[in-house]
Symmetry: C2
């Protein structure tokens, strides 16, 4: 028979969920422990403080994101452009499914005190995402991989927070088309771009 997960794992996954629903400052450790069907003492034996638990949930989420990248590469081997389009499609799907944007970005908004241990987790995650996306753009052979990847990053981040602020009928409804247009405008013949930034022919 299927044994229940260990208390530690239950705490991490429930904390993830509750932080997403109520915000990090909006939920207490008591409520997290109760939702994980355990108690505060056990929580504090595994994580020395609430901040530690926050960092652990952010690491947990970023590991799942890393797994998504691997899966994306495997689904379109040796076809970086297809991977790029798969990325857009997956992000659009995630945007449609997920009511609360990116946990890491939300944490960055919420935890403004400099020196909070979560900041290095967030930064490492975002930098890794950026690196992988830029590599994808470069391998796909677009004319300005750095600009395209940062454009796509901003579009994704903006779509998520925009959906939080304006709902699904706001700018985020055109996320996919915006990504496709951006990719197209950087693809091979950089015609429309030449007026904005001088790329050598």
């Amino acid at each position: 028979m299927q044994a229940r997960q260990a208390p530690r794992d239950r705490i991490v996954s429930m904390a993830c969920e509750l932080f997403r629903q109520h915000g990090i400052r909006g939920i207490g450790v008591d409520a997290i422990a109760e939702a994980a069907e355990t108690n505060k003492m056990t929580l504090y034996r595994h994580f020395g403080s609430k901040d530690d638990l926050v960092c652990e949930t952010l690491r947990y989420t970023s590991e799942k994101a890393a797994a998504f990248w691997d899966q994306l590469e495997a689904s379109h081997p040796n076809d970086p452009m297809a991977q790029l389009q798969g990325w857009v499609k997956a992000r659009a799907q995630c945007l449609a499914d997920n009511k609360y944007g990116c946990d890491l970005a939300n944490a960055a908004v919420e935890l403004k005190e400099q020196g909070h241990p979560a900041h290095v987790v967030i930064e490492n995650f975002k930098l890794a995402q950026r690196r992988r996306l830029e590599k994808l753009c470069r391998d796909a052979g677009v004319s300005e991989p750095e600009l395209l990847s940062d454009t796509l990053s901003m579009l994704m981040e903006g779509a998520q927070v925009s959906k939080l602020a304006t709902g699904s009928e706001g700018p985020s409804m055109r996320f996919m088309r915006a990504c496709e247009a951006a990719i197209a405008s950087f693809h091979q013949p950089a015609t429309a771009l030449e007026t904005a930034s001088q790329v050598p022919a």
Copy 2:
């Protein structure tokens, strides 16, 4: 001699500042009253609750944003494309100056409980911004004004939260170039776009 502002105005502007620095949940009404050189009782006589004060600060900020739009129109009369480029430039400048992104968007991230009175303020503000930006794009005669304006909205929103998460060396460093490239790709000859979305010639 210059009389001091009325207590109510001091409270609103200081609350604005402190919410921006510490987050809405990260600062208490006591601290706000003290920073405004007044006291909690006076604060509660003007604003029935902290939530009311939050709404008022958000309204205050969105009024300043509306004034910015009027000023933008006045500075380039009858030249929507120049206004659009002025918008990009102003947003880039604001991005460089402001360490904490958009107050309204941040509030949307932080206040996840549905039914919070701030949500209608946030939504009205974001919808108004979107309407004005779309009108600008339409008047500038670009090929797909709705798609371009939503693209620019997402780029701006994404640049702000990205700067919070990754710092100024992240994707937000290419915000201006991304906007210019987007505008260029939708300007007049919609060449590069035709592959992504079928616009009638």
